[in-house]
Structure formats: structure tokens, C-alpha cells
Symmetry: C2
């Protein structure tokens, strides 16, 4: 598998599905739909959707069975970025080198665009036509799972603790709470949803859960490391911004070498968890390595 | 039926269910769960949940079949109020006589509390235990329907057009768009969900849809009228605030007498739509009259 081609093919697939499922800019209210599309199509790597597709394929399912849910996950990820960037939160003017949503559309529309993306994600997860080949009990399990990982005891909870920890002395359990909840959970959920909608059995679901848990945390540690050593142009944001803000990170708490070691260990755990799935999980294995070793 | 007793009994039922289903203040992150509970228990009339319970009973269902969905609807309503009150939107310091969420918890937590309530609502709608007596296909239809009425082409869309119309000359179609989307939709959805989860057939669903559409618009016109003639103490907000803000309202566009006439007509249409449901719909009929004639 050539990773670059794999990523390009899958993200093209996801992009065209997002374009199909997002309300058009010619639907009322225009400004809202423009704002939603602006951030969804702002150059994201589509990591969560691609992991979901790969997880579905690892259990013998297809991309088509999960594509709507993959788009829903990207909408939830995008809403969280829009709200995180707001002046009341991280107050970021740029993301991936482009002005953030509220800089272009104003704060009110940015808040509402986030709200609408989150809502649209659940509409899409429940969509009857998109789920026609999946048992409805499974679809409900998926919705419950996604809501749990995205909600007050998941991603939103992680964001609150992250915010409240800025400039504070943070211990290791708090740092792990932030990372597993704020970022790791949605990555784990992506892989689990791929297993469920792809028709995987409980054993496959358990294997992919182990994979997703380790890969999700490894991803965030790698992100922390990139903030210290990354290339500003490739990153599209200021290097060192976490430190400037007094954010809790792995390199800050463990040092760079040990953070790297921890990311590598988690990556090994993730890859090891794929063993029962055989060759069908090769793309996931490559993706896990990419997550830890990427440089942007 | 004594309306006061009916409203008190039902709102007690809804309040205790909300208390049971909302994450406790002793769950991490504390501030987030406190903020969620602060606004959910800020003295709302529970109109949407009560309408949902009454709709379920009108088609032969029970309160228990819809109680979780009724709570979900109240969480969605509450999230929309928290976000509407933000400085970037209506910038309100008080609601029902109490400081608004962001005045107590700060803007960041208020935004996230809204996000978490919306997410928790969908978790609850999909909850397996709460839906054990309902076919999963019906539950999925409910989730799709709620998301549609709450999203970019529903409530959020209505809020955007409302905001963009402030201080502008607004024509009647735009005013109707705002009212049916921003407020009417969630009331209609409450009644429709009651019909679906209560086990109603398509004929009953259609009758309740006519009822909910008319009652939802009547509610908003009555709200507009109250803003002009209401008692400030009972309203818990400043009388005349719509006018001061240059908001599009029915009294502003049609005059007070014609707005009253329009609300009464819609109420009659709503009540008329209940005929096929017989005596089981008596509470809904009383609720419709209350919606239009209430004075707070």
C-alpha cells in the first residue's frame, strides 16, 4: 500500500460525500451554510473519516457502509475546532493558514455554524437511506456511542478541563484525562463505528477498540511533539503555541525524549491489537505509523 | 381537567427525569455539569416536554414512553437559550429574572454547556434502555426528525435569519420563516415525537402535525404580543425588548389587534385538527388555549 495514494483516494471520497450531504450554499440561510462549508472544506486531513473507512474494511465491510457516518464524524470534529477557536476559548485568528471561522463570518454565525454541524452530524448518523443495509439496533448503538464520546463526559469535557488547566500545574492523570477525552475519544469512536457499521463481530470490535484507544492517545502526543519541533509552514499555526499558552502537554510534563518513547509504545500497542484481523487491517497499521511519524 | 394541576404534575415528572438523566455535578468536569444544570433548572415552563407527553397520551401512549425524549427536547431548548443569550448574539444578562449562563460561568463554559446539552439530547434520544418498548426504526425516525427541526434548516437557521434581520425592514414571509423555524419547529417536533413514540398511526401523526404546526406559530405570536403588553415581573425580562432591538414581530408588522386575531385563528386551527383524536386529546386542546392566552 502506498500511503500517499491511499490517503488521497480516501480523502477525495470523503470530500465528495461531505459536499453531497452538507446543505448547499444556495439554501437559506446562505451565510450559515457558507460558514459551515468554509470550515469543513478548510484543508483537514480527514483522519477520523479515513480511520473509520479503514476500520470498516478491516472487518470485511465497505467504505459505502460507513461513508455517511465518516462525514458525520468530520462534522463533529469541525464544529469542535470552530468553537475552540472562538475569542472566549483559544482566541485563534488562523487555522491551517486560513482565517478562522469567526474572523470571516463573525462570532455569532461561527457559534451557530458549529451548533448546526453538530446537529447535522446526528441527522446524518440516523439517515434512513444511508443506513439501509445496517440493522437499526446497530445504528442506534452507533449514535449513542458517538454522543457519549462527543459530550460532557467526552470531548466537551476534555475541552473544559484543558481550558481550566491553562497556566496551572497539571499532573499526569489530568493530562491523560484531557488527551483521551478531548482528542482520543473521537478517534477511538471513529474506529469503533467503522467496526459496527462494517458488520464486525464483538471480537473484532474489541480488537479495534484497543487499537483506537492507543492510536488516539498516540495521535495527541504526536501533536504535542509537533507543536514543539514542527515546521511552522506545514503546521499552519505557530510552533510553540501550546507552551506560550501554558497548555498541558506530554513534552512539557515528560520531556521530549520520553514523550516520543511513549508515542512509539502506544503505536506498537495499537499495531499489536490488529493481529486478530489479519491482512485486512494492513491499512490501519500503516495509518497508525503515519499518525505518530507525520510531520504536519 | 384543571390546567394548573396538570401543568404542575407534568413539569414535576419532567424535572425529576431531567435530574435523573443529566450528569451529576459531582461528575468531572464539575463546572460544566453545574452550568448545564443551572440553565436546565432555571424555571422553564417545560412546555415542549409537556406537549410531548400530552401528544403521546392523545394517541394512547404513556408518559413513560416519551419521558426521555421529552427531556432531550428540553435540553435542546435550553442549549438554544444559552447560546442565544451570549454576548455575540442577543447579549442578555438576565433570563427569567436570573443571571444568564455566561454571566455566572463565563462565556467559554456557557458555549460548551450548550454544546454538551445538545449532544446529551441525542444520546438520550438513542438510549437503548429508555427506548426498550419502541421499534428501533421508529427511534431512528425520531432522531432524524428532531435533528432536522433543530439544525441549519430548522431552529439554528431561524436564529440566523432573526439575527440578520435585526434593525432591517422585514417582510411577512421572512417573519414567518423566522417564527416557524426558530420557535415553531421545536414545538411541532415535540408533538410529532410524542405521536411516534406513543405508538400513534400515520393518521394520528398527520392530525398532530397539523396541531403542532398551528400551535407552534400561535405560541410565537403570543410571545411577540407579550413582549408588547406583558407584565415585566411575570415575564422576567424587559417588556418592549423586541422593539428596542429592532426585532421583527407580528405586532410590529400587523398591529396588535391583527396579531391577536391571527393567534386566535391559529389556535382554532390547532384545536380543530384534534377532532379525529377524540377525548384523549382534551389536554392538548387546553394546552393550545393556554399557549395563546397565557400572560407570562
Amino acid at each position: 500500500m502506498v500511503l500517499k495514494d491511499y490517503l488521497r483516494d480516501r480523502s477525495t471520497l470523503v470530500d465528495s460525500a461531505l459536499d453531497r450531504w452538507l446543505p448547499g450554499e444556495k439554501h437559506l440561510p446562505y451565510s450559515l451554510h457558507q460558514a459551515m462549508r468554509y470550515s469543513v472544506f478548510a484543508g483537514g486531513k480527514r483522519l477520523r473519516p479515513i480511520l473509520m473507512v479503514a476500520a470498516s474494511e478491516a472487518v470485511g465491510g465497505s467504505a459505502g457502509q460507513v461513508l455517511h457516518a465518516a462525514c458525520a464524524m468530520e462534522m463533529i470534529h469541525t464544529y469542535s475546532l470552530i468553537h475552540d477557536d472562538l475569542p472566549a476559548m483559544d482566541n485563534d485568528d488562523f487555522r491551517r493558514g486560513r482565517p478562522t471561522n469567526h474572523k470571516v463570518f463573525g462570532e455569532a454565525v461561527a457559534i451557530l455554524a458549529g451548533d448546526a454541524l453538530l446537529t447535522e452530524a446526528f441527522r446524518l448518523l440516523a439517515d434512513a437511506e444511508a443506513n439501509r443495509s445496517t440493522p437499526p439496533e446497530t445504528v442506534l448503538r452507533v449514535i449513542e456511542l458517538v454522543a457519549r464520546y462527543a459530550g460532557s463526559q467526552g470531548m466537551v469535557g476534555g475541552q473544559v478541563v484543558d481550558m481550566e488547566s491553562e497556566g496551572q500545574e497539571v499532573d499526569f492523570p489530568t493530562l491523560e484525562y484531557i488527551h483521551t477525552h478531548k482528542t482520543g475519544g473521537l478517534i477511538l469512536a471513529s474506529v469503533q463505528v467503522g467496526a459496527l457499521l462494517g458488520g464486525g463481530d464483538e471480537k473484532q470490535f474489541a480488537a479495534l477498540s484497543r487499537f483506537g484507544g492507543a492510536a488516539g492517545l498516540a495521535f495527541q502526543i504526536a501533536d504535542d511533539i509537533l507543536d514543539v519541533v514542527g515546521d511552522q509552514a506545514e503546521l499552519g499555526k505557530n510552533v510553540g503555541s501550546d507552551q506560550a499558552r501554558g497548555k498541558a502537554t506530554y513534552p512539557a510534563l515528560l520531556g521530549l525524549a520520553e514523550a516520543r518513547q511513549r508515542a512509539k509504545e502506544l503505536c506498537d500497542i495499537a499495531v499489536e491489537a490488529l493481529t486478530p484481523l489479519g491482512a485486512a487491517a494492513d491499512p490501519l497499521q500503516t495509518l497508525a505509523r503515519y499518525i505518530v511519524e507525520r510531520n504536519s
